[in-house]
Amino acid sequence: MRAWGKAWMGLFLLSVGASALAFFMLMGDVRQEDTLSWKTPKTASISPVAVIEEGLAPDLKKRELIPDFVAEAEIVSADTTQTSADLIWQEFLTQVDTVVHQKGSRAFHPRASGNVISVMESFRHSSEMPSCLPDPRGAVLVATGWSLSTLVTLTGWEGFPGWRSWVDELLLQSKEKTWIQIGALRACLGEVGEVDLDELYRFPVRYQFLGGGARACSAEVDLELASRILSSLSLETEEDWTLRSLAALCLSGSYEEQEFVRQALKAPLFQVTPWDLCAHAGALLGMGIFGGELAAESVKKLLQKEDYFGQAMLTAWCGSLLKKDQAPSLAYQIARGWSRKARAQSTQNTLEALRAFDEEGRQDFELLDLLLERALDPEDQAVRRPILIHKLLMEGLDGTTGVFLAEELAFQDPEHTAFLFMAAHNLRQRDAFQEKALFLESLNQLEQLYAEVPFALRDIRSAQAYLARVAPPEP
């Protein structure tokens, strides 16, 4: 009995000792943390570099253990313990949202001041640029639409390690998959390359995402993603159009080498009803730069089509494929040599160039493209804009180019909104349904832009009313 009593006493003393030891160890930890917090702020205790090298932030590892059914509640509480990097990313997303809200689709236009590209640039070059990716679950809670897409592109361009798996995680977490895919494709195309994406704004397409340079997609995973996007039929929303344009551009770099790429681009290139404007433009832009013999054959087939809408863009972008050995026309060479200050000769020069274009069967799109380019440059006085617009629209030299020029000039200067009515008249004459939809969209944007300019507003509304009143019924 006494032996049992001794044993119990021994056990009791042992447990008291262990408790005391645990108590002192705990106190020691607390004191050490107190000391650290005096030395450095808490946010600095996690090194971003260490986070990148480790692949996942420590708090992310903890969060992965949370069961799905409580994930949402935990994410809300996690917001209160965000890192300073997450807060800076949120600030960036807010900036993008603000620009998109204020400018609409114009927020991506290369000639619009304070566009998304300039927001990205100033953020990237600021000292605040975080050095780690944002928490994917936090990002999908805050970011939507274009801001989510822009975040994906920006982080891709910055080359964060683990970016692809981060994008996959975003795709799993978010319902806005199209926006994430747009961002991912734009990131894969790179920010510098042979393709000038601003070119896409020069023709009536619904491309809306960031200009700058791009290169061919090379990774198998990107080509497969682009091919999947093109095979889906969705063309319902603005973002669908943009995504298809990027996907076609991405694929076009491998047009010569890959049979599955040629198959994927067959419908966007040749299917007529309705024309897939965005994918078509994206494919042509890429084929003109990266294409070879097979691309040249396809381009020639397109030119044989009746009432082909894209002759101007095809000649502008794929001219090198069509006539490798031919020199540009004499009219083109002369127009190229005009001085930018040739104001006194501008009337005569423009008339002569357009006469040459007309006499050559209205096929010298290289010349037309040059005239368009010079007319859109506000510093270039060599082309007389009113003459160019009138001849294109009223004399039917090239209605598509004329409508586009009228829109662009109106965006540049409210004084030019007077041309919009002429463009509406041309669209009415041609029954161009797709172009009409795009034109009406531009009118809506112009209406917002010039809300405080009464005479411009009158012009815009006259054009809207004209199309609404006399436009033929939609098919």
Binding site: R343, T347, P386, I387, H390, M394, A418, S462, A465, R469
Partner: protein
Amino acid sequence: MKYVALIFFFLAPSFSVGANSFGVPGRAGQAECDTQLARCLQSAFEQALSNDQACIKTWCDKVFFLTFCDEEGLSRCIQKADAVYGAALRACQTDFSACSGMERRNS
């Protein structure tokens, strides 16, 4: 001579802008209004061309194959010509609206 041409230039646009090629205002056939609109725009364009020529005659001198211009004067004149052309286009819009009985949307 330059000043005479300049005075002519500033007077000429007022004739073109004021001219109404649509005849009696009111509702007419849509096709007829379209035709008249095209005619009005063509007339405005021809006037714009002659205004351009007037500017060049006023502010530039041609010596053999070379043209010397007062760039500042020419620039102002061309700007004015553009404004006149814009006004002419707007007059065509107004006349077309009257012709077809098209109502403008209120702001």
